[in-house]
């Protein structure tokens, strides 16, 4: 069942900028530019792209906060902008940059308000709260005013707040931003439990690719408001034209190695780095090097996902 559907969705912002002393110029920014995708129930999708790519704008349209300029959106059977409050009962939202919790009140009070605003039946509320408290280790924090919580504690508090009403979809906009390694691990574990255990559909934006690697079976990459990749994590390598690296140790310093199918990218004394397309076999290159040079040792390095994506961002024409 398709839970999220977008068809040719666009959102433009008009920016009025001062040019010169008196003239003002209107300029259109296409934050999202003809985006189409579908997310099935139960998926965990990573939504990534460079700064300003349009990720947050997409999430805001999917929650009904922003009205799209064009295109068709449907989330859990509802048009978000037209029936925002109706949709709100079916989705959970976590913004890493801001909190939905009540600053001056104990954590518990925010949850109590959620119980009433979302009209959560008592038994369900208690079961869900107990589960979140256990998984996120919130017990000792429930009576602490939110302003006294650390960033990581607050983020855990926000995660619980977004899930008390059993949403079908959970949107997370940079949920691990600013967290230390331990907190990130805990948040990821929780999200995995929510997605695989409870079956909640998750759409996650992040700049930390470890989040994606550990959680998401599918990744969507956007840039300048357009989809540049949608598929499995492994498929990224092919699309991103990633390269593997052959690190070669020779008997002594030498001129850059010349073999077919690879090129030298770095030389440091007796050690040289050769890059070759990730999908090619390393064997003929190794054979050619061994045949023509005094080879002592070698190793092959797989491309880092960061590099692949950085290359992908760089490749997209600016439009």
């Amino acid at each position: 069942m398709a839970l999220i559907e977008l068809e040719d969705v666009a959102r433009t912002f008009t920016i009025r900028a001062k040019v010169g002393r008196l003239r003002r110029e209107r300029r259109e920014v296409r934050a999202v530019d003809g985006l189409s995708f579908t997310v099935q129930a139960g998926e965990c999708v990573g939504y990534i792209g460079p700064n300003g790519a349009g990720k947050s704008t997409t999430i805001k349209m999917l929650t009904g906060i922003l009205v799209p300029s064009a295109g068709r959106l449907r989330v859990a059977g509802v048009d978000p902008a037209r029936e925002r409050t109706r949709l709100a009962r079916r989705i959970g939202v976590v913004f890493g940059q801001r909190t939905t919790l009540w600053w001056d009140l104990p954590l518990r009070d925010s949850y109590e308000l959620a119980r009433r605003i979302y009209r959560i039946p008592d038994a369900r509320y208690r079961a869900n709260l107990d589960r979140c408290v256990e998984l996120l280790e919130l017990g000792p924090l429930l009576d602490t005013p939110v302003r006294q919580l650390s960033l990581g504690q607050r983020m855990r508090g926000d995660l619980a707040a977004a899930l008390l009403h059993d949403p079908q979809v959970l949107y997370l906009d940079e949920p691990t931003i600013g967290l230390d390694v331990v907190s990130k691990v805990r948040v990821r574990e929780f999200l995995r439990e929510i997605n695989t255990g409870a079956g909640t559909t998750v759409l996650l934006t992040t700049h930390d690719l470890t989040d994606i690697e550990q959680l998401c079976g599918r990744v969507m990459v956007i840039d300048h408001g357009r989809m540049v990749y949608d598929g499995g994590l492994d498929g990224l390598h092919a699309t991103g034209q990633s390269e593997r690296t052959l690190v070669v140790d020779l008997a002594g310093p030498s001129a850059p190695i010349e073999v077919p199918g690879a090129r030298v990218v770095k030389v440091d004394g007796a050690r040289q780095w050769l890059a070759f397309p990730a999908e090619d076999s390393a064997a003929p290159i190794v054979a050619a090097v061994a045949a023509g040079y005094p080879l002592l040792d070698l190793s092959v390095r797989e491309p880092a996902i960061e590099d692949v994506i950085a290359r992908m961002y760089a490749k997209v024409p600016i439009g």
């Binding site: 912002f13 947050s56 704008t57 805001k60 929650t63 009904g64 906060i65 922003l66 009205v67 902008a81 925002r84 409050t85 109706r86 709100a88 009962r89 079916r90 989705i91 939202v93 913004f95 940059q97 801001r98 909190t99 939905t100 009540w102 600053w103 001056d104 009140l105 009070d109 308000l113 009433r116 605003i117 979302y118 009209r119 959560i120 039946p121 369900r124 005013p145 009403h165 059993d166 079908q168 079956g199």
Partner: protein, 281 residues
């Protein structure tokens, strides 16, 4: 997975839910304010004292004259009391909407928009504080004194009209707060303009229409419907001639003007939400 969606809601249910959401939000703010309880009583007293100064100014004017624009002190008390009551109650209930621009810039409006409660209810209840009871309380005191001191035969039509004008006036000021704040969706600095409608308008209504130019009186009758808050109905209650010579029906039209204002403010708010661009990150 549990679903608590219910069927499509009727208008009445939606209104009830809007009020309920306001109550829930206001209760949260009241509790949050408890954290700073010591200042509460102090602020309430300060509030009463400061708002009382308005009326002290009026009383002082009457040291040298016994009429202002043909109106006596108790009659001015009625003007003052009704205007301050309507403004103060509207301010208590929805006045926080005037910081909409700050909510937008801080991104807290986004947070309100993801809850299944009307955003308007949440914005209006933001920073709710009983401290704002100061103005309506003081207005009620002035009103009580004026009603007993003024030379009026309190027949049932006058009593009803007074009650109707207090409610309509509160609704008109509420609509002005909301309609004015809505401008902040397009223009971040609109708060000053809105404050001049509401607080400025209320001060205007402390004085009789006869002391102002006819153009101004016409402007607040047919433009911003301020004249319906108290000027027009009080003309009937006090049996005074209308400086604009309008038909007597205008003196009973405050509820209609209130309904019209609510309609306009509601449409404006919806348009504002559609134009909303988010906080930017």
């Amino acid at each position: 997975m549990a679903e608590y969606l219910g069927e499509r809601e009727s208008g009445v249910e939606r209104l009830r839910w809007a009020v309920r959401s306001w109550q829930l939000t206001a209760a949260m703010w009241t509790r949050a304010a408890m954290a700073y309880r010591a200042s509460f009583a102090l602020m309430l007293v300060a509030n009463v004292l400061i708002t009382s100064l308005d009326f002290v100014v009026v009383v002082l004017m009457f040291q040298h004259t016994d009429r202002l624009g043909g109106w006596t002190l108790p009659e001015l008390g009625l003007l003052y009391g009704t205007s301050a009551f309507a403004l103060g109650t509207a301010d208590l209930l929805v006045g926080s909407v005037d910081s909409l621009g700050e909510r937008i810039r801080a991104g807290t409006l986004d947070v309100m928009l993801i809850r299944p409660a009307p955003a308007l209810s949440q914005v209006c209840a933001e920073r709710f504080s009983l401290r704002r009871l100061g103005r309506p309380a003081q207005a009620t005191a002035v009103l009580a004194w004026s009603v007993s001191a003024v030379r009026v035969d309190w027949t049932w039509d006058r009593v009803l009209l007074l009650a109707a004008l207090l409610v309509s006036g509160t609704v008109i000021f509420s609509a002005l707060f909301i309609g004015g704040a809505t401008l902040q969706f397009w223009w971040g600095e609109a708060k000053e303009l809105q404050n001049s409608f509401t607080y400025g308008g209320a001060t205007l209504l402390h004085y009789p229409p006869t002391v102002f130019a006819k153009e101004l009186v016409a402007g607040v009758t047919f433009g911003l419907p301020l004249a319906f808050v108290n000027w027009l109905p009080l003309l009937h209650i006090l049996g005074k001639p209308d400086p604009l010579g309008l038909p007597a029906a205008f003196q009973f039209a405050s509820p209609l003007a209130a309904a019209g204002s609510v309609l306009v403010a509601g449409v404006a708010w919806r348009a504002g939400l559609r134009a909303y661009r988010g906080a930017g990150n």
